[in-house]
């Protein structure tokens, strides 16, 4: 079993941080190291694609964690909330500010004594203005919130980075053109001057990254790019000053610009991906308060509030339709793009969109408890965990940079000493090696592919709570279904019946129309309600009694009817399990047998799984005969019947010896089995409560096929990325080193940089599709 981190014990705590500025796999190593040194830190995992760090610690203050990351040269996304507080003495205010600073999630508190204002910098992943306000109120400061930034932290971080890159690229493009023009018209000094902004402004991100890596004693892509451009630039500077030649200053400028193009595309793709999936819920909604429609901040909506929705509105709460009629797009929950008609009594989930009509919704879950928020949170957490495949990739990229540096040095030495080429030529080859090397397929593409996979799954109604399970899904070789609630619905249907007195079943159905029992519903569905019962009484677990059309009707178990009729003979009814008896005026009148309704999609799903070469197993607490009947209909030959809940986990463990096991259950009675499987899938929308790795919120079994396919797709993509990275580097590096030079074919450093840039763009785009 894959170990998982469980809830905290012995004062351990964890905090998530959104990191800004990581653009290579080795950056994650730097951030990890920095955080580990923050003191009291037990474990750190940093994810490049989601740009998040999860820190397990023993009460390390947030401010310490944030400053550790900032000292290492990266940034953490923080928000600022300002509160005006009650006028108290400056001394006391200062003391309270210090106390607030020690709270989890608070980074820094600035006190403006003149206006009695506290500006609180906080980690939006840990705390929020509501919580801060509550704390301050608890201290008797009666705060009023002044202003606050709004928007998702991911998107804020990504677009900040994108803006920075775009500007650098623009400057780079303009000055590189001038450099090229000057170099070709033989004006070395002008070329050098024009190349300087490119080298020092546009290329600054790389130099900074390289320095940061150096300080943390690791190497990354920045190391390579920065080294290549610096060598070219300073060599050209030397040439311009002492030899009045342009050297290859154009190479330095082009190199930086080309790499920046790749980077910008990468960042753009990432930003797009984030904003596409993480479109937050609206901030305001219309609510009925005191009989009036009022526009309010969605955070103030409470359970029981009536929310008014009309066409185009996004649903901001989970709830039940109170009145109205509308078509709703529930694709975020079910993955089904066809709109669903919602009427009074229907459940409605946050994140879905009203297409037409209008509704009033009674809120049952609000704020962070809503389906949408739970999914967002779950997906974020799933991405933050470091997947086994990522560890492999990290190991490879950790040795990549030193390897390339060595190759570059070797290239220089061999050209200079073995082939006795000129210093400049040897330098060109070695710079080309630095510029051509591309570890991006490793560093960025892998987490990106996983990230896209997890997010895509969530759009198909598959909420991945644990990344490892998503990874394991592609290797699934055995799927175990817990019958009830997965293969079958909770409802029954009439299988067969005998009617001794004509019309008895119609009368029985009329009585049962007053009951909510699954058998009762099946009866009403099969025989229809004709009369309104004038009397009704129900005996839980036994049966019901009612007076319909002047007749006394009893519907219930064999025993129940036996106790209430005169003639007990001939009560035998073929079959086992689910059946009811009907008596009219004290005489046995009919018998009905039920069967559990099989989910419509279940047979095709079982067939598809078998087609994928997966073993399908069914477990159930039901009797052998009932289980066999359902299994037979579904084409499942491996059945464990009369299994107690605790035994399900044992079956899972036993089958895990044979392969990777996925357990599919309703998430209520099978928590143990769900957690002991490699992949535990629960049906339902209780994302946070379900003890599962993956929650199938669409309640459509087909999701399981999609899950396996999506996981297989992602891992195929990762393998392709790795193959590309290997193939590209082993092909281009020898060429860059000048192995084909005897045949008149060599790769200039700037073209090497372009090739690298294209490779990285290619891999990024490939991971996304």
């Amino acid at each position: 079993m894959i170990p998982r981190s469980e809830s905290n014990t012995s004062g351990e705590d964890s905090e998530e941080l959104k990191i800004v500025g990581m653009h290579c796999a080795t950056c994650t190593t730097s951030v990890e190291r920095a955080l580990r040194k923050a003191g009291g830190v037990i474990n750190v995992s940093v994810n490049l694609a989601s740009e998040e760090a999860v820190v397990e610690h023993r009460g390390t203050p947030t401010s310490k964690l944030v400053s550790a990351v900032r000292t290492a040269g990266y940034d953490v996304v923080t928000y600022i909330a300002a509160f005006k507080v009650k006028t108290i003495s400056a001394e006391e205010l200062g003391r309270l500010a210090a106390k607030l600073e020690a709270q989890k999630g608070v980074v820094r508190v600035e006190v403006d004594y003149t206006s009695d204002t506290l500006r609180v910098e906080y980690n939006p992943l840990t705390t929020g203005p509501d919580k801060l306000e509550e704390t301050l109120r608890g201290w008797g400061l009666g705060p009023t919130r002044i202003s606050e930034q709004l928007s998702a932290p991911d998107v804020v971080a990504a677009s900040r980075t994108l803006r920075a890159y775009s500007l650098r690229l623009l400057v780079g493009a303009v000055f590189t053109s001038i450099t090229l023009l000057a170099a070709y018209t033989n004006q070395p000094l002008l070329a050098l001057i024009a190349a300087s902004p490119v080298q020092f402004y546009s290329g600054w991100v790389f130099h900074l990254g390289a320095l940061r890596a150096l300080r943390n004693r690791v190497g990354n892509m920045d190391t390579l790019v920065s080294l290549a451009s610096n060598i070219s630039y300073f060599y050209s500077l030397y040439m311009a000053v002492f030899r009045d030649s342009a050297g290859f200053v154009d190479v330095a400028a082009l190199l930086v610009t080309f790499v920046l193009i790749g980077k910008t595309v990468e960042v753009y793709t990432k930003t797009r991906m984030l904003s596409e999936f993480a479109s937050p819920l609206p901030q305001v909604a219309v609510v009925i308060r005191n009989g009036e429609e009022l526009k309010v901040d969605t955070r103030t909506i409470g359970v029981g509030d009536l929310v008014v929705l009309s066409a185009g509105d996004k649903v901001v709460v989970d709830g039940v339709v109170e009145d109205g009629h509308a078509e709703v797009d529930e694709s975020v929950i079910t993955g089904e793009s066809k709109p669903v008609v919602k009427r009074k009594g229907d459940p409605l989930f946050s994140g879905s969109t009203v297409i037409s009509g209008s509704l009033r919704v009674y809120s049952t879950r609000v704020g962070s408890k809503t389906y949408f928020e739970q999914v967002t949170e779950a997906v974020r957490r799933a991405q933050a965990t470091k997947l086994p495949v990522q560890r492999l990739v990290d190991r490879v990229s950790a040795i990549f940079t030193p390897l390339i540096l060595a190759a570059s040095a070797a290239t220089f030495t061999i050209w200079l000493l073995v082939f006795h080429s000129s210093f400049g030529a040897a330098l060109t080859y070695s710079v080309a090696v630095l510029a051509a090397a591309c570890p991006c397929a490793l560093g960025l593409a892998t987490p990106m592919a996983v990230s896209v996979g997890i997010r895509r799954a969530s759009k198909m109604g598959l909420v991945v709570k644990r990344g490892e399970a998503f990874e394991a899904a592609h290797k699934t070789s055995i799927v175990i279904f817990d019958k009830t609630g997965t293969l079958t619905e909770d409802t029954f249907e009439v299988e067969s019946y005998t009617e001794r007195t004509k019309g008895a079943l119609e009368l029985a159905a009329s009585v049962e129309s007053r009951s909510q029992h699954p058998y009762a519903r099946a009866l009403v569905k099969a025989f229809g309600k004709r009369f309104e019962p004038s009397e009704f009484d129900s005996f839980t677990g036994e049966g019901v009694m009612g007076v319909v059309d002047g007749k006394t009707i009893l519907v219930g178990s064999k025993r129940f009817i036996k106790n209430n009729i005169a003639n007990h003979e001939n009560m035998d009814f073929q079959g086992d399990g689910a059946s009811v008896y009907v008596a009219v005026n004290g005489e046995l009148a009919a018998m009905v047998k039920f069967k559990q309704k099989i989910r419509r999609e279940a047979p095709s799903v079982v067939k598809a799984l078998k087609g994928m070469g997966i073993r399908v197993v069914m477990v159930t607490g039901d009797s052998e005969a009932e289980a066999k009947a359902v299994a037979g209909e579904l084409g499942i030959s491996e059945v464990y019947a009369e299994v107690k809940p605790e035994e399900k986990a044992e079956i899972v463990s036993k089958l895990r010896e044979k392969g990777v096991v996925m357990f599919v259950g309703d998430g209520v009675n099978d928590a143990q089995a769900l957690t002991s499987a490699d992949v535990g899938v629960a049906m339902g929308t209780e994302v946070a409560k379900a003890a599962a790795d993956i929650v199938l919120s669409s309640s459509n079994l087909r999701g399981i096929i999609r899950l396996i396919e999506e996981s297989r797709r992602v891992y195929a993509k990762i393998r392709q990325n790795l193959a590309w990275a290997f193939g590209y580097n082993t092909t281009i590096l020898p060429v860059a080193a000048g192995i084909l030079a005897p045949y008149g074919l060599s790769l200039q450093p700037e073209w090497a940089a372009l090739a690298m840039s294209l490779s990285s763009v290619l891999v990024t785009l490939w991971s996304r599709v």
Partner: protein, 53 residues
């Protein structure tokens, strides 16, 4: 209303049984279980009090 098992006076509630078309109410689940096991015993012999558990 009298609990036919223990003889206590009871209100109409959810603990009840239908026997020969007549509804009987009980003070507790225990009484109902005992009644269901052998209704005739209590209907013919009358309540036996709360002596044996």
């Amino acid at each position: 209303m009298i609990d036919p098992v223990c003889g206590m006076s009871v209100e109409k509630g959810d603990i009840k049984s239908l026997y020969k078309g007549k509804t009987y109410y009980f003070c507790s689940k225990g009484c109902k279980t005992r009644f269901d096991r052998d209704p005739e015993k209590y209907l013919k012999g009358g309540p036996e009090g709360m002596s044996d558990p």
